[in-house]
């Protein structure tokens, strides 16, 4: 077993995959915490699918599809944030529309692009085993950007997540902060797309943070713990998929999903035994 692990670590792709998992988990834990507490899970899903339009555009123009995804997801995040705040349009309707238009745009643009598109599926389902070393540096930069922004705007981001009305009354630039958060979600989505694919992005944004949220009652602790859970699921899932010869993205997600169910049942058992042990109040 150890020999097999050491042997696998000889491969650059495996080392890069493991490092990618660790780097992505940082952004995942920090931004996932906001996604969970601010209840913008489906906004993130919408941004992820809109990003597919950018991938299509990248193919069509002969540019790096990831670049297209960055542009599209940022535009989708900022655009949706702005429209939602200004018109009061029901958020879930807006998300649904964006989700579908993004995907459809991507499909049409890919149709119109000439040539062979073998790696198209990798954006949908992830390709953590095909991350080049140059991309690792990009991920480090993105991590620094994301964690740095959250540190700089922490008290404002906490305030708009906890109580938007009070933040407004205190003259916090609520709209601008919301857009900053949307931008950070969009960047995280693009990073995650590499690992699990845009279809499964929602899972890695929410599951580690949701488990952490059951264990700690402080936002910073929740971010750190969520990053830790992310790292565990990424690493364990990657090895599992390597040895069992399964799709890595889906294996990681299933492992995380299993972890979520375990945390759910542990909590259920916890409250149940507490209820049984607490004498009824008179």
């Amino acid at each position: 077993m150890i020999d097999a692990v050491l042997e696998a670590l000889q491969f650059v792709f495996m080392r890069n995959a493991l490092l990618t998992g660790l780097l992505v988990s940082v952004a995942c834990g920090v931004i996932g915490t906001f996604v969970v507490v601010k209840r913008i899970v489906f906004v993130s899903g919408g941004i992820a699918h809109a990003a597919y339009g950018g991938i299509g555009l990248g193919y069509f123009l002969g540019l790096d599809p990831v670049l297209g995804a960055v542009v599209f997801s940022l535009a989708a995040g900022l655009g949706m944030g702005a429209v939602q705040r200004r018109t009061g349009e029901r958020a879930d309707t807006l998300i649904g529309v964006m989700w579908a238009i993004g995907m459809a745009t991507g499909i049409i643009l890919v149709d119109l692009s000439p040539g062979y598109k073998a790696d198209l599926l990798s954006y949908l389902f992830g390709s953590i085993l095909a991350v080049p070393t140059s991309d690792l540096m990009v991920m480090v930069v993105l991590d620094v950007l994301i964690v740095g922004s959250v540190l700089i705007f922490y008290k404002e981001l906490l305030a708009i997540s906890f109580d938007e009305v009070f933040a407004t009354v205190e003259n916090v630039p609520v709209g601008a902060m919301y857009l900053v958060l949307m931008g950070l979600v969009a960047l995280t989505v693009v990073m995650l797309m590499r690992v699990v694919g845009l279809i499964l992005v929602i899972a890695m944004l929410t599951i580690p943070a949701a488990i952490a949220g059951r264990l700690v009652k402080d936002m910073k602790h929740m971010m750190i713990l969520a990053s830790g859970f992310g790292m565990f699921f990424m690493t364990a899932g990657l090895w599992l998929s390597y040895f069992l010869n399964l799709t890595s993205g889906a294996t990681i997600i299933l492992l995380a999903g299993l972890g979520y169910l375990v945390s759910l049942s542990l909590q259920w058992l916890g409250t149940r035994s507490r209820r049984l042990n607490t004498p009824a109040k008179g």
């Binding site: 008290k155 404002e156 906490l158 906890f162 009305v165 009070f166 009354v169 205190e170 009652k217």
Partner: protein, 265 residues
């Protein structure tokens, strides 16, 4: 009552003149006039849909008046609202939110500590004093979601106090707490009222009229005379329905109380 009236300063904290406001052309507030004097404790009652929430939103600068003028400490709302300590209703909170008592109270310092600035030692001192005033300082490390309704309400009051407000604005502060807790909160507000003006809206006519200094009735129009008695006439004008309908549950506190006040004068 006379010495309480004397304690009130003559400075006007909130001035509302001929205010019209509403949504989509429907005017929920019609020609509302209100002058809140320093150290007053005003209770504004009225039926649901009568415009209490809309009035609060205007005072907080969340919706703009269609017509009329609102000034807080003599300034336009966006500037003046930094002197307002807002205490929201309890109901709008997700009890899973990962935050402790201290961090909630710290949000009161956001207005003075702008973007890119950390909270200072001075801020921490102000927050500690605010929590001390509501008797929650020893609970500062507890998760906010684990607190009882009354405790949460007190932390919201501390957060509002941490803004160093000239006026506290409370939205149905006692809506979802039990009577014993609500009388504690009234005691707290009464103590705070020595230093800060209080404006409070509520649908609970009985409770509010027995604790505040002056009372007004709001149902699209505001019936306010700067007195402490809620007259039958005001209620009838405001509610436009027989009084016994709105006095359900606490008839003894509304009517004999006011009969007694009438006798005093």
């Amino acid at each position: 009552m006379a010495d309480e009236a004397r304690k009130m300063g003559s400075r006007e904290v909130i001035a509302v003149r001929h205010l019209w406001a509403g949504y989509d052309g429907e005017m929920v507030l019609q020609d509302v006039n209100l002058s809140v004097q320093e150290l007053d404790f005003i209770g504004i009652v009225g039926p649901n849909g009568g415009g209490k929430t809309t009035l609060l939103k205007v005072l907080l600068g969340l919706i703009h008046p269609t017509r009329g003028q609102v000034r807080i400490m003599g300034r336009p709302i966006e500037e003046g609202r930094r002197h307002v300590g807002y205490v929201p209703q309890l109901t709008e909170f997700d009890s899973d939110f990962p935050i402790n008592v201290w961090d909630v109270a710290c949000m009161g310092r956001l207005g003075d500590r702008g973007l890119l600035h950390r909270y200072t030692k001075e801020d921490e001192g102000i927050v500690a004093t605010a929590l001390e005033q509501v008797d929650m300082l020893d609970q500062r490390h507890r998760p906010f979601g684990d607190l009882s309704g009354g405790q949460r309400q007190r932390v919201y009051v501390a957060r509002a106090l941490a803004t160093e407000p000239a006026v506290l604005l409370l939205d149905e502060p006692l809506a979802s707490v039990d009577p014993r807790v609500s009388s504690n909160i009234y005691d707290l507000l009464k103590r705070l009222n020595d230093k800060v003006t209080i404006v409070m809206v509520s649908h609970d006519v009985g409770a509010i009229s027995s604790h505040v200094k002056t009372v007004g009735c709001l149902n699209r129009r505001l019936f306010y005379h700067g007195g402490d008695a809620l007259t039958q006439e005001m209620l009838e004008l405001a509610y436009q329905c027989p009084i016994d309908l709105i006095a359900h549950g606490v008839p003894h506190r509304v009517f004999p109380d006011h009969a007694a006040h009438g006798g005093d004068k």
